[in-house]
């Protein structure tokens, strides 16, 4: 129990004579935050249990659960369940989940970092220390990013590891298992030896109809022998039968036609692709954090900024990235999510849907659906958002009544 004498006791912190030298040397008015400020701000965020659970669940927990289920399923019944990893799983997890929800969780962390001092009454204590308000604001950036980026990195590393080490040994291309990474002659040679499968399954876009081969279930690969069909070159009568050599030649033609698409499919994401995508996801999370920090600092609260950023990411970005609105196209290009899609590495399938040749739908066609924007313009938009929201948040922090 505390007694009166406890409180009135001689001070462990006696009043000292004016310590002008010390005060002058601690750079209290400097805009640069000290290491201690960053470290304690990091601690403050890290100790928020609910926030950390959400962060870990989205960036680590859900991918781990998803991959674990696939690993167990494949181990139990390899014929029914494909390998847990591989390029297709990589693109699905990274682009369909980590990219979008990584942004949202980073935004929540940013909104928390930007508003809790104010809402929980610590802002006043901090301002009374005499420390530069700008330094108080800037200390939140490395502290918050250290948490967000670390979580993204851990989750992403797990995803990459599983996708590499549990990747399929065969590439499933257009429904057929093909060895990955074949050269054009090697693919031609393979097509010649698997002519029926190639003709029945590969995409074909040529003037002559494919030979009629039974493809199972009563289906054939082309019109029946003797039939008359219209082609761009005119009316053609399908030969009564084609020799095995002709069939093989046709399969090679089809393989040649699809080679570029085949080469854009992988069983395993390459190292360079994983590095590029990792940096891209980290940038997306950084944007989410910085924008959340600035917006919540501006508004002085957390809930509304979080809602606004979720709406931006889940509603506005998918719409504005694909639908050109006349007179507003430059505004659409100015949305950071649209700009981020334009600098997506490796011609991957784009988030928010879109089809294409890569890994089960994406890349090329996804890109074609995006509103046009140069890489330079997209980069400027991203830098602009980072600078603008940092400046806005810092300005509000410096001018706000505490």
């Amino acid at each position: 129990m505390t007694t009166t004498s406890d409180l009135g006791a001689s001070s462990p912190v006696p009043a000292s004579a004016p310590v002008r030298a010390e005060v002058r040397s601690d750079h209290r008015g400097s805009w640069i935050p000290t290491w201690g400020m960053v470290a304690t701000r990091f601690m403050e965020l890290r100790k928020r249990r609910g926030l950390m659970i959400a962060l870990i669940a989205v960036n680590i927990g859900i991918p781990v659960v998803f991959l674990s289920v696939r690993l167990i399923s494949h181990a139990a019944d390899p014929k029914s369940y494909g390998p847990a990893g591989g390029y297709a799983i990589f693109t699905t997890l990274v682009l369909g989940f980590m990219y979008i929800f990584g942004f949202i969780v980073a935004a929540v962390v940013g909104c928390t970092a930007g508003s809790v001092d104010l809402t929980e009454g610590m802002f006043r204590h901090l301002v009374i220390t005499g420390r530069s308000r700008l330094a108080l604001y800037l200390a939140r950036i490395p502290a918050g990013l250290a948490i967000v980026i670390a979580m993204v990195a851990i989750g992403y590393t797990i995803v990459c590891a599983v996708c590499v080490f549990a990747a399929p040994t065969q590439l499933n291309y257009d429904g057929i298992n093909v060895r990955p990474g074949l050269s054009r002659p090697a693919l031609d040679k393979w097509a010649a030896t698997h002519a029926d499968e190639v003709i029945c399954n590969f995409n074909y876009n040529g003037p002559n109809p494919p030979p009629s081969i039974p493809c199972g279930n009563g289906q054939t690969s082309g019109p029946p022998p003797g039939a008359t069909i219209q082609t761009p070159k005119g009316t053609v009568t399908v030969p009564a039968s084609e020799s095995p050599a002709q069939i093989r030649a046709f399969a090679v033609t089809m393989a040649n036609q699809d080679y570029a698409d085949y080469r854009s499919n992988f069983t395993v994401p390459s190292t360079s692709l994983m590095v590029d995508v990792g940096l891209w996801i980290a940038l997306e999370a950084t944007i989410g954090f910085i924008v959340g920090l600035g917006l919540s600092s501006l508004m002085g609260q957390r809930t509304v900024p979080v809602i606004l950023l979720v709406v931006l990411e889940l509603i506005f970005t998918p719409i504005f990235s694909r639908h050109v609105i006349l007179h507003l196209v430059n505004l659409e290009r100015g949305i950071v999510g649209v700009a981020m899609l334009h600098i997506e590495p490796g011609n991957l399938p784009t988030p928010f849907g879109g089809g294409g040749p890569g890994g089960g739908g994406g890349g090329g066609l996804g890109r074609m659906l995006l509103i046009p924007e140069s890489t330079m313009a997209a980069s400027l938009v991203i830098v602009g958002w980072l600078v603008f929201w940092t400046a806005i948040g810092a300005w509000r922090m410096m001018t706000r009544d505490a």
């Binding site: 505390t2 009166t4 406890d6 409180l7 009135g8 006791a9 001689s10 001070s11 462990p12 912190v13 006696p14 009043a15 000292s16 004579a17 004016p18 310590v19 002008r20 010390e22 005060v23 002058r24 601690d26 209290r28 008015g29 000290t34 201690g36 400020m37 470290a39 304690t40 701000r41 601690m43 403050e44 100790k47 928020r48 249990r49 809790v116 929980e120 009454g121 610590m122 006043r124 204590h125 901090l126 301002v127 009374i128 220390t129 005499g130 420390r131 530069s132 108080l136 009544d401 505490a402």
Partner: protein, 325 residues
């Protein structure tokens, strides 16, 4: 009037000014409402200074302006000789303050909250976390989350936060709020101990009794304006006082005194008479009352000089101002 700061050479005046707080013409408006109105305030160093006023008088607003939490619209101010806001960082380095109810990150422990604040101060502040926790008597609860603290413990933590900077000036806004009698006693003793160490404590409160018990000097504020300031003893010395008379025949005594110049403020009370004497009346008036009664054949059993309390004085001053307006 515009907000100006006095010219001040770099690094000077920290110990030169005799005033811990000095304001001239300080004004803060919220739209049409003037919360701080042309305040001239001088808080001597090393004193316990009360800033006394009713709720809504502008006490907290003045403190917020002094600490740079909000800007002033006009006037000049200095803390520990440093002009605010020009040398705010240098001044606040030696200032600790509680403004309104002390609030902290409730998910962190008391120690962790202090570590955050210490990190924003000079490097030496980090080493003061444990001593200040011990001093305010919550070291044994330092590892508990603030959400589990009582109001009194939060007040103590607020004082601990103030002490982190080894302050020469502490500004405490309503520090007794929410404290039980034992807590108020502890806080009062702590304030006295801080003053005895040579620190200046500026205490804002509407609790007149606490100010009277704790402070040496006081400023009375009403509707944003400082209407009196000075040492409490001096302020009360010039105030009206009352003489209570216990005698053998109160009714006749009333008539006797009523026939003199003192007779305007005499009334019979259960124990005898009460004679109210106006401001500036000397102690000779008491002897005069005694002489009149004795010469009138009335036995006088007791004459008691009752000095007006700060509360009575405060009410008389503020009500007089209120009626004048």
């Amino acid at each position: 009037m515009s907000l100006t700061t006095s010219a001040e050479p770099e690094g000077q005046r920290d110990s030169e000014s005799p005033w811990a707080v000095e304001t001239h013409g300080l004004t803060k408006r919220f739209g049409e409402n003037i919360a701080v109105n042309d305040v001239e305030l001088l808080v001597p160093r090393g004193s316990a200074f009360g800033y006394l006023g009713p709720n809504g008088a502008g006490k907290t607003t003045l403190i917020r302006v002094l600490l740079g939490l909000t800007h002033a619209d006009a006037g000049t101010m200095q803390l520990l000789g440093h002009a605010i806001p020009r040398h705010r960082d240098r001044a606040l380095a030696r200032v600790g303050a509680i403004v309104d109810e002390p609030r902290f990150h409730s998910h962190l422990t008391g120690r962790q909250n202090l570590q955050i604040l210490a990190a924003a101060r000079e490097p030496a502040a980090k080493g003061r976390v444990e001593p200040v926790l011990e001093r305010v008597g919550i070291l044994h609860r330092a590892n508990d989350k603030v959400s589990k603290y009582s109001m009194g413990m939060r007040q103590r933590l607020g004082v601990a936060a103030c002490l982190l900077g080894d302050p020469q000036l502490l500004i405490l806004d309503e520090p007794m709020n929410g404290l039980d009698p034992a807590g108020m006693l502890d806080m009062r003793d702590m304030i006295k101990a801080l003053v005895s160490e040579g620190r200046t404590v500026m205490l804002s409160s509407h609790l007149l009794d606490e100010i009277e018990r704790t402070c040496d000097a006081v400023a009375i504020v009403d509707r944003g304006t400082v209407i009196r300031q000075g040492p409490i003893s001096q302020l009360l010395a010039g105030s009206s006082f009352e003489v209570q008379v216990e005698c053998s025949d109160p009714d006749r005594a009333t008539r006797l005194i009523g026939g003199t110049a003192l007779g305007e403020h005499v009334q019979v009370v259960p124990d005898g008479l009460a004679v109210s004497l106006p401001e500036g009346t000397g102690r000779d008036a008491i002897a005069e009352i005694n002489r009149v009664l004795v010469e009138g054949g009335i036995s006088v059993y007791r004459l008691q000089h009752i000095q007006a309390s700060l509360e009575q004085w405060f009410l008389s001053v503020t009500s007089r101002l209120g009626s004048a307006k």
